[in-house]
Amino acid sequence: MINNLLMGFGTALSPVNLILIISSVVLGLVSGAVPGMSGVMTVVLLVPITYGIGPVKAFLILTAVYSAAVYAGSISAIMFRTPGAPEAVVTSLDGYKMTQKGRMNEAISTAVFASATGGIVGTIILTFLAPQLAKWALNFSEAEYFSLAIFGLTLVSSLGSKNLVKAFITMCIGLLLATVGLDPVKMMPRFTFGISEFLGGIDLVPIILGTFAISEMLRQIRKGAKLSEMNSEAQYSGTLLPPFHFFVKFKKILSINSLLGTFIGILPGAGATTASLFGYSFAQRFSKNGKDFGTGVPEGVAAPEVANNAASAGAMIPLLSLGIPGSATTAVMLGAFILHGMQPGPLLFQQQPKLVYTIFAGLFIVNVFILLLNKGFVRVFTQIFKVPYTVVISIIILLCTIGAYANRTNVFDIWVMLIFGIIAYFLEEQDYPLAPIILGLVLGGIAEPSMRRALSMSYGSFTIFFTRPISATLLILSLILFIWSMYSAFKDYQITKNIKSEG
């Protein structure tokens, strides 16, 4: 493993890759910090654009953007109380209060040092845990892959906890989309409706671009394509590296929340936002200043930032070792792997060790560059808001059309992207979560062929899924998770109903 990791560092530290990492960190910082843009959307836009430059470079770029964006959401949250990303919402509680008290430098320094610590601890755990998990998963056969896909699908419940029924409906839409084209066993056309472009299936890229980027741009247009007023007078003059007393002061928060964040990140479906919420409320309980949280204390900035950055690294563990995407961004990453002709999971560690360990090394380097580039970035950040948002929206839409076209050089895919953008916009407007569409589309492509092949092995008997221990365990876990999420949703509904009737 150490040799592989050294090889990974060797690849990631080559001059070209280093330049790519630095540019991607800057891009990630911009996309995370500017409200209305997001890390997910930037990763989505970059998936087709990076297709032509080879998998190693492509994944260095994607992971760098992803990690930098998770941190950068806190910058605008602290400076303007406008979180650049959902995971930074909690950071704004104390961060913005600190800015109001004239302690912006301290708040941003705390956020960046805490983020880097969380990111590095998360990456260390990722580097050591993911290969072990992948080794265990090497025993999987078709039945286990099917059960694993089903387990992944039940995690939709946590992606769409606000409305479970709607989350499962959008998941079904994704699963149905995965069945379009030739049937995997008998090569019979399904849901093609006489359109020859559908015979090869629906391409993942236009669906991802439409679902996440186009729908979001349409939403911004409907909102008036305006950014909130910003205070561009704020100036930042923090230090580049964390002082020693930072680690002493926050030792409890840094150690507990980085582990907690990574663990929450591993749980598919939980993600960085949940981690930041848990991290904040956890720290509130064990911190000496717990009662002052929300009034502008640095602990209230450090706690969510350690946790959400650790979670972003943790989320890569199930993706790389099992091929299960636990969040919208990792679902998009899974799509990127498929686009490059690879399937994340146990075999990835055997077939592509250079790629996997370069990703690990890249994540370490990214966290170092977040520290180094932060100071300069915050200084120029306020200038970004001078670019008219209408221009930004138009350019993003243009990049989406290029991305949709470029993969198969087919204008038909632009239409697919547009139609799915419109559908996703209207679905999201009525509170239908969108990430399950991608989860369904990606896992549907694994579930059905695995099921059909497993049934061929067992001469059509479904007992194969219950007689193999890992498969049976995964299916039982799926059932428990499904019932538990239904029960929780019902309980929440009852509580709301009771409050309403008492009120």
Partner: protein
């Protein structure tokens, strides 16, 4: 904006599509004598979706008053004129994008994209007569140079004369 009417329309569309697909899926198994055929997996998904859409419809009627309250509160909070104006921008953007997609194959990236950008800028409110076309042209030239040459991404060339023009750039 979430409204009860839109909720019902979407839920009904999902419901009717599920019913249609449930019948349509039978055509996949015409040569299937026994065992799991091409229709098996889609049928499971569609049946699940049908059940979910029924539960969704039921819960919508239960939550009807709450959704209507939310809609009213939103309408009171927002300026109706602004909402209408933004809706106009929204639909014009969709028309611009549809026209762009329709003619891209024939006219190509180089000619059509500056028009797309300028019309989008104009529609969204950026109406500087000189700067807007200049920005659009600079972006198109940059993209036409970077994408094919450095990222190996092909851009639509168009047909006949437009195709010849595109060779100047990429």
């Amino acid at each position: 904006m979430r409204t009860f009417k839109k909720e019902i329309i979407i839920a009904l569309i999902i419901f009717f599509i599920s019913i249609f697909l449930l019948f349509y899926v039978n055509t996949f198994d015409v040569n299937q004598s026994k065992g799991v055929g091409p229709a098996f997996w889609p049928r499971i998904i569609i049946s699940f979706m049908l059940v979910l859409s029924l539960i969704n419809l039921g819960s919508l009627f239960k939550k009807r008053d709450k959704i209507m309250e939310e809609t009213e509160a939103y309408k009171e909070e927002k300026d109706i004129e602004e909402i209408k104006n933004n809706s106009k921008k929204f639909f014009i953007s969709l028309i611009i994008l549809s026209i762009y997609s329709m003619f891209l194959r024939t006219l190509g990236f180089i000619l059509l994209t500056p028009l797309l950008l300028v019309s989008m800028f104009w529609n969204l409110g950026y109406r500087k007569k000189i700067l807007a076309p200049v920005i659009a042209i600079v972006i198109v030239v940059l993209l036409a140079y970077i994408f094919p040459n450095y990222l190996n991404l092909l851009l639509p060339r168009g047909q006949s004369i437009f195709r010849k023009v595109s060779y100047i750039f990429y």
